[in-house]
Symmetry: C2
Amino acid sequence: MGEGRHVQLSDEQRIDWLRLIRSQNVGPRTFRVLINHFGGAHAALEALPALARRGGGSGSPRIYSRDQAEDELAAADKLGVAFVAIGEADYPRRLQAIDDAPPLLAVRGHRATLALPAVAIVGSRNASAAGLKLTQQIARGLGEAGFTTVSGLARGIDAAAHRASLDTGTVAVLAGGHDRVYPPEHAELIDAILPTGAAVTEMPFGWEPRARDFPRRNRLISGLALGVVIVEAAKRSGSLITARLALEQGREVFAVPGSPLDPRAEGTNGLLKQGATPVTEAADIVSAVQPIMGLDLPAREPEISGSDSSEGLEPDASERSQVMSLLSPAPVSVDDLIRLSHASPRTVRIILLELEIAGRLERHGGGLVSLV
Amino acid sequence: MGEGRHVQLSDEQRIDWLRLIRSQNVGPRTFRVLINHFGGAHAALEALPALARRGGGSGSPRIYSRDQAEDELAAADKLGVAFVAIGEADYPRRLQAIDDAPPLLAVRGHRATLALPAVAIVGSRNASAAGLKLTQQIARGLGEAGFTTVSGLARGIDAAAHRASLDTGTVAVLAGGHDRVYPPEHAELIDAILPTGAAVTEMPFGWEPRARDFPRRNRLISGLALGVVIVEAAKRSGSLITARLALEQGREVFAVPGSPLDPRAEGTNGLLKQGATPVTEAADIVSAVQPIMGLDLPAREPEISGSDSSEGLEPDASERSQVMSLLSPAPVSVDDLIRLSHASPRTVRIILLELEIAGRLERHGGGLVSLV
């Protein structure tokens, strides 16, 4: 969406948004579909039990209660955390363009930082002295050139990137709640980041991050940035996941070359072989991202208003069984489902929503769905 | 030229070829033009004094005498060196395709090695232990995959590449005569190379290599190979010259990444930024060159027969002054000279030859010429 076309949620709407995204089987993609279909979070919340029942769920999905949402908002507020919604002025512009942008981003610190052009810097926790020094040089150079850095607050490269950017602004993306900083010894680093930078998360207040929350979190690191710099990375490391997500999101991927005899360079050299841009200093990155900074992002409506009406006929049993027979654990595109089932797009969408809310369907990128 | 269309020089022709290429102001490009124009080396040799005079030379060019040529052939023969001419069966096929291929290549050792697919490996003399180890790994892997290696016999990376290829075959390209191995302590390495590999040079027997002979020599290293691997290279090093020449010749350029904090990786990382293919092991190189190995080389006639006749009218004074007025120390294309002077292509070619033999004109790649 263009500048100046921002929306602003009412307090009531924000509570409904929080309740909806925190309810069982509702992820960012499902959230969008629900809001589009029902015209708003309130109507979607009311529809969840019926959707789950018709989708064959074994019980009613856990719905985040109004009390829970109000408690979370109050607790977050105490820590200075604001919930910014897709479409609102403070929502990071680039993040909004990704397929599975969090409907609500919990932001702590200096929100204006999120409006600056950003470059992510990630790498191994077990970094070498050379890797830490390079990270520092690159992060400083980016800061001096007017960029904010984005990273994951991990030990090693991530922490070095944040620390070198304290004067110019840096964004830490958390895999847990704002009150559950990981690793715990970086609570102090968060405190140093907040006056000039920000910490953000999509996870609930009080959420202790699990291992699988980190790869999921990585899409926000790349999503916030024009590009991702991988400084040191072993084979099969989390940084390579971030690089892959960055590519899927159309972000630039930069890799710092290293000696083939250094295992910490295996991942970055592998990225170079796959076509990542080699960089050794901040200037390399600046010259690569400057031409794309001014480009318009693909227009994506905030989609918090508008509805294709919740009324109308429910799918009948034969349509339902027809769509079900086309689904399997292998991802298939929604377009194919519509074409092959001969059902209307709206009907297929409802059936998929029901299965999803019942916990029987998973939504992937690129319009693909599969049975769980 | 295709397989089986080889020529074979007579002893007399070989002496004339050697005399012509060793005569003053005759380089590989001028050699081609002379042979084409006069129909053979013998006629060209006879024409040299008149050409130089008409070109305004201050004296007669030094012509390599028959005695000198016979002495060089005899001395070379004693060391087991053969002079192989462009177009002959043993002349390396890929080298023949370059613009300024030496008309005669002095070859010592196992000539069949020159028929194998080859990859050049070059790098800094002041190599790190890691660089030497990588060179060894890459050279061994290439040898096992059926490739011969090519390098420049220098200390450091070059020597490591040759040594690791002794079992499978390697080609050392010298910047001086076969009896003037540089550096002298690598005479022993040459001896180890010859049973399974070869040493080659275009320089005269007895020639002590000067600094400026090395960059010139580097075009043969890349010219013999499908691609060039640069293992370690500082900024502004000879290896980067080889990389540039390789690009000009349409060869693949491979660079081994290194830490940005290591000055010996500045050159290779710089090449990566310019688009060189990153490699960390032999398999990377093999998979890149295998698709191009079978490709036909651009057809280039050996051009040792055929003539546009040495007879006919000489250029007149006005044509001469017209072409002269278009020339300057800035390179200009022969095609432009023909177009702008309104003289015939043959006339322009003769005028340029005269200037060249008189030592007043330099011939560059891409059909460009300039006043000296």
